[in-house]
Structure formats: structure tokens, C-alpha cells
Amino acid sequence: MKNTIRKYWSLFWKFRKLRLMLLLEYRGNFWFWTFVSIMWTIFNFFFFDLIIGARGSIAGWNRTEMYVLLSTFTMIDALTWSFFYHVMQEYISSIFDGRMTLTLTRPINPQYLLSIQTNSYTNVPRFLIGLTMMVITLRNGAIPITVWSVLGFVLFYCVSILFVYSIWFIVATFAFWVDRLDNINELVPSTRRVWQAPKEVYTGIVSVIFTVVLPFALISSQPSEILLGKASPYWLIYYTALTFFLFYLSTVFFRFSVRKYSGTAN
């Protein structure tokens, strides 16, 4: 078990190293996409600042709280975009073009191998912008920070990452079941608008959908609420339990779906 964990950990970093080497081969591409992602982040902050400026608060979240939420969203989005968008794209195309064959014949958990094999570094500056905004907001907003609130934030940041991964992997796995699904990888990113608003924004049936059934509204809200000292333990427990259930479901669904794989004929 210890050896397996060491092997998996070492492989994770080997892939990061290989991706970094590729990035250095095509640095022009890197700088361009970095510029695009930074601009996207700046416009996003600017957009919400305009709304808060006009209304004073959004669904009971004041300017400082909204900035904590947006910073959390930026850090989650930067990481999920860096990894999952590229990983799932590669995963889906490997099903259609037959490259999955190689993955399935290797002595390693194929879901793990598929999940670590690629990434992009163009969103690293976005993550840093989010982190910087968070630190500035917490200092200027005079929000009391404890070790426990920081640890809780980090923990639920990871839960959110796992939640996004699980949902995204389940969606991508549907590619085994149809001959071609070009846009399936765009489905989860298309919900990102929902992640970056406080969960209280949603009311009625929409609230049930986005906080209970498919709780995209909890992705940024839950870690932020811990930092702001307003998290409800019930929501945290529900969100954690659901996330681990979805992760389990992603592994079961993958094992079941992979039986559909036939590769491409020569």
C-alpha cells in the first residue's frame, strides 16, 4: 500500500514535469493563454464590483464577503480549469480515437492515470490573483482569522475540487455510451456562473436544484462561509457526504462504462 501511494505520488509529479517541459517548448502559446485568463479574472471582479456598487450587497453578502467568495471561486476555477478541462478533454478524445487502449493495458488504476496525465499552467497566475485578492480582502475587511478557519477553508477547498472532479468525470464517462459527443466537455464549465454566486441568491425550485440536487452553488460558498464564520454544519456535512458519494459513483460508473470500450479498428 505504501509503495503504491509512493508510485502514484511520484507519477503525478512526473506528469507535471513532462507538461512543464512541453510548456517550455511552446512558450508563446503559454503567454497568450496566461494573458487571456488574467483578463478574464479582472473582468469578472470588475463585473461583480459594479453590481455590488449599485446594490450594496448580493443576497445578504456585503462587498467584503462577496470578494472572499469571488477569490475562492477564482482559486477553485483556476485549479479545475488547469487540470480537469484538459484531463477530461484528453479522456473523451482518447475514447473516440482509440488511445484509451494504452491506458487500459498499463499496470495502474486507469481512472487515476486518466486524471493526472495532462494539465495546463496558464491558470497559475489566476490562482495567484485569487489568493492575493483573498489576503487583501481579509486584511482590509478586518475579518477575524483563526488556524481552524484557515484549515477548514483548505479542507473544503479540497472537497469542492473533489466535487467538481467527480461530477466532471461522470459527465465525461458518458462518452463511452455514444458514438461521438464533441461538446460533452463543455457541460460542467457551462455551470461556472452558478459557482460564483452565493447560494442564497437562488430561491424556490432553482435553490433546490443548485444547493441540494446538483449543489454547484455550494462549490465556492462553503469554503467562503467557513472563512467568514457563517457556515452551517448541516450544509458542510451534506456537501461532504454527497461529494464522497459522487466520487464513489464516478469510479463505479467508469468501471461499468469501460466495458463498452472497443477501441478503434486498425
Binding site: 508510485k7 511520484s10 507519477l11 512526473k14 506528469f15 513532462l18 517541459m21 512541453l22 517548448e25 511552446y26 482509440g98 488511445r99 487502449t101 494504452l102 487500459l104 493495458t105 498499463r106 499496470p107 495502474i108 486507469p110 492515470l113 458514438d179 466495458r259 470500450y261 472497443s262 477501441g263 479498428a265 486498425n266
Partner: protein, 330 residues
């Protein structure tokens, strides 16, 4: 007798495929109503392969060769039948099993396109958990056998197809697999490179005592490497035995190549066999296999010949004959 490394009993693999009606109307109709039919890619195949054998797996396109290899590699679940490779059920996909075989597909690559092949080798070393000393030793042997020492640190995209295939083979063999599935390894390569790869496969088999199944459309590969051949057609096994047996059973004729000293008429030669080519002073005759020597003797006494050769037909022609006879039987 040694235990078989690979054994298949009554393997069947059927696929459901969608048949589209032609034209735009057919495409629109297919949105809500699709006609499916069952294709028997592999239909009741059985065979056993013993340690160290190199077996040629021969068949036309769509015969079921690759499907069989995919079942043996654990990529496909069979519709029915028993399969065992190295004592494992392939589709359990156990790591202990996966560390002992390699699947090389001539049309698929595992090397990182924009990086030197060495980076892919090191990645495979980590994936297959090859110890440092064993990795270096195996790498040295493989690099020497394939003569690639000077190209493994060049980006893969800058290598020729032949050089890439050599590196693909190294990447697939670094963990010293006991069983090797080679699916069209020489496809697209020039004759020189085909020969290099054949020599390598032979040397690898001798050095590592590996059991190898080889599929190839180039009969030269099979003839040079395999003592035994399994021929499949439309998912069914139609022959399993020594390659020489195929020649004995299905090559009904031998080829007599003549170089004439004096002009003769084609009709004079037709009395001895089927004239395939006649362009004085050269002539080629197909004669019954059992009478080839006798007919050659008669030709020598009857005509003034500068040269006469008795040759076997090419293995491609014999296999073609085999498939044709199978078609007639069906």
C-alpha cells in the same frame, strides 16, 4: 509438456453495429430510428500457445485478428468463451498481469510527440516500476539491438517513421514482457526497416524467451519469424499449424522460371504447364507441385535452356489461395 502461456477456448466476441440508410433522409431517420445488427468479429476460436513460440496470426482486414488481441490484452470483454494469458483472466486487468505483457500496435503510438523518446521510457519505467539497474540493462540491450543510441534524446516528432517505430518498441519492451502482442508492427515501413524490425523481434524472442503473437499483412514478416501460423477468416479459425503445412496443403503449383537459348513458341511451352509470363528469352510456368522436377527434366531435354529454376509460390499467393478455397467451401 510445458503449460500453455495463452489458451483460448470457444472465444466469441460479437458487436452490435448500426447500419445507416443512405442519403440525407437516412441520416434524419437515424435520429430516432436506428437499425442495428450483430457482427461476429470472433466466432468460436480456440487455440493454445506455448512458452517461447512466435505465432503468426493471419487474416484479411476485418477477420478478427485485432479483436482477438484486444481480448487477450484485457481491453475487450468476450461475449463468451474462456481465455487465459499467463494464468490470468485478461479482463480482470490485474497489475501483476499487465506488467508481464505488452501490446504494440503499429498504428498507435505511446511516445510523447514533442519530447525525446527517453522521457517516455522514463515514464514507463515509473509506471511499470522497473528497478534502476534492470531498466538500464534492458535499455542498453534494446538500444543496441535496434541501433538507436543516437536518436533517443531527439524529439520524437523529428524522427522518421522507422526510427519512431524502433523507439515505440523499446517503450513497449522496457519492462521485459513475457508475452508480446504485435499488431502490424511493420506497417508503413520500407523494406529495409521491415527487415531490421524482424531481426529485432527474432533476437528479442531469443534473448528474453518471450512468447509472441504477430499479426501482419506482410507475409514476409510471418514467413521469416513464425514457425506456426493461425489463419482466421470472418472470425473463424481456418488453419492452425506449421507454416510449411500451409505451403504443402495449399500451394498446388510450383513456379518454373526458364531462360531460353533459342526461340520457341508459347504453345510449345503450354504442353508442360500454365504459362504465366512469356517474354523471350524469359518464361514462367506454373506446374503441378508433385511433377515439378520431372517437368523441369523434360524441358531440359526438349529445349536448349540457359537456366531453369524451380521456386515455391510466394506465401502471399498461397494464403490468397487458402482464403479463396475457404470462400468456395463456404
Amino acid at each position: 509438456m510445458a503449460q500453455p502461456v495463452i489458451s483460448l477456448h470457444h472465444l466469441k466476441k460479437y458487436f452490435k453495429v448500426y447500419r445507416k440508410k443512405p442519403g440525407l433522409l437516412g441520416s434524419i431517420q437515424s435520429l430516432w430510428d436506428r437499425q442495428y445488427e450483430e457482427v461476429k468479429a470472433v466466432d468460436d476460436i480456440s487455440f493454445e500457445i506455448y512458452p517461447g513460440e512466435i505465432v503468426g496470426f493471419i487474416g484479411q482486414n476485418g477477420a478478427g485478428k485485432t479483436t482477438t488481441l484486444k481480448v487477450l490484452s484485457g481491453l475487450l470483454y468476450p461475449t463468451s468463451g474462456d481465455v487465459s494469458v499467463l494464468g490470468f483472466n485478461p479482463w480482470d486487468r490485474k497489475a501483476e498481469f499487465q506488467k508481464q505483457f505488452a501490446l504494440v500496435m503499429g498504428q498507435k503510438n505511446q511516445l510523447w510527440w514533442d519530447l525525446p523518446a527517453m522521457e517516455s521510457f522514463l515514464l514507463n519505467k515509473a509506471i511499470y516500476e522497473v528497478p534502476d539497474d534492470k531498466f538500464q540493462k534492458t535499455l542498453d540491450i534494446l538500444m543496441d539491438l535496434l541501433d538507436v543510441r543516437d536518436i533517443v534524446n531527439i524529439q520524437v516528432r523529428k524522427l522518421s517513421l522507422g526510427q519512431r517505430m524502433k523507439c515505440e518498441l523499446i517503450a513497449a519492451l522496457l519492462h521485459s514482457p513475457k508475452v508480446l502482442f504485435l499488431d502490424e508492427p511493420t506497417i508503413g515501413l520500407d523494406v529495409v526497416m521491415q527487415k531490421v524490425l524482424r531481426d529485432f523481434i527474432k533476437a528479442y524472442n531469443e534473448e528474453f524467451k518471450a512468447t509472441i503473437i504477430l499479426t501482419s499483412h506482410y507475409m514476409g514478416d510471418v514467413k521469416e519469424l513464425c514457425k506456426r501460423a493461425i489463419v482466421i477468416d470472418h472470425g473463424k479459425k481456418i488453419f492452425d499449424g506449421e507454416l510449411q503445412e500451409i505451403i504443402d496443403r495449399f500451394a498446388r503449383n510450383k513456379i518454373l522460371s526458364l531462360t531460353l537459348n533459342d526461340p520457341v513458341k508459347q504453345s510449345q511451352l503450354e504442353k508442360f504447364g500454365t504459362v504465366k509470363e512469356f517474354d523471350y528469352p524469359k518464361a514462367t510456368l506454373l506446374v503441378p507441385r508433385g511433377r515439378a522436377a520431372k517437368i523441369a527434366g523434360e524441358l531440359l531435354t526438349r529445349f536448349s535452356l540457359a537456366d531453369v529454376n524451380i521456386e515455391e509460390p510466394t506465401i502471399d499467393a498461397i494464403i490468397r489461395e487458402l482464403f479463396l478455397s475457404e470462400k468456395k467451401t463456404a
